[in-house]
């Protein structure tokens, strides 16, 4: 294994570790949280306080994630 390949493998491993650590088994939850935070920030920029947008969007993401598991088991 050459030096560049070794560095590439280390960087890939480093990236994979953080991906697994933060995103975990299902990206849906992280996406739901990002969308929720984004929605709150956009509404705030238009002078609306929409605290409810975050829990609603992450709840939808959680249900989608659970539904995927259920579909696999049927």
């Amino acid at each position: 294994m050459s030096g560049i390949e070794r560095v590439g493998a280390i960087l890939r491993g480093f990236g994979k570790f953080w991906w697994d650590f933060i995103v975990g088994e299902d990206i849906t939850l992280a996406l739901g949280v990002c969308l929720g935070l984004g929605a709150v920030a956009i509404f705030h920029a238009h002078r609306h306080s929409t605290w409810w947008a975050l829990p609603i969007l992450w709840l939808i993401a959680l249900f989608i994630s659970l539904a995927r598991v259920l579909r696999k088991t049927r």
């Binding site: 949280v33 929720g36 920030a41 049927r74």
Partner: protein, 270 residues
Amino acid sequence: MTTSVVLFISAFFACCVEAVEATTVVLAVGLTRSWRSTWRGVLAAVLVLIAVVAAFGPTIAHMPLSPLRLVVGGLLLVFGLGWLRKAILRASGYKAIHDETAAYAELTAKARSFNDVSGTRAIADDPAQSGARWMGGDAYSFTLAFKSVFLEGMEVAFIVVTFGANAHKVGLAAIAAAAAIALIVSVAFVVRGPLSKVPENAIKFTVGVLLASFGTFWGAEGAGATWPHSDTSLLVLIPAIAVVTLATVAILRNHRPTDKESSLSPIVTS
């Protein structure tokens, strides 16, 4: 006061769950192979964790409050939802309950099966699997102990640092984590076996609800929202999330196919 109590409970229980899982691995390799190398692995992992916390802790604590709440709230929420998802699937029977006794039996069998002259090229390439001698010790024990303590510890270190920094109580969170580790390690070494009686799923459920609640509260605040009645809204948010989670478990239980219909294999997962 409420935040301090919740912070202590979250850090303590999160640490208990991770400590139980790490202790199972440490006991399995220590009792079947080499205590000396196992301890070295544990010590190395603890030192790396201390270095990570020392490097990132003060940086996080000095961030301006709004971006801190946005980033930390978002991350706590992602972690909390991951814990809740796992707890819901286990409680409703869609995922096998983490069985420390089975995990311990599997680990000890694996640890016994690898010896210094073991097999194939693929195994021999990996010092952790071949049981190679390394720094006068057993590489298998060192690597396994290091990996388990570091990986389980990272999650706890992250919760302690971010939760603590956001509430300006890193010291309290660290005390809670240390108390949990001391309790689990003491019990494990008295029992000298896997801690199968710890209700891991119930603890994971509680911590998941708390992390999701605080993550939602801080994340939305960091993104610019104003909660009705400020901090008091947490007293509604925490029970509301708990109720929704319990209702989801009840609904999923009712819709679960029987074992014959289900393709789910009863595997033990982390």
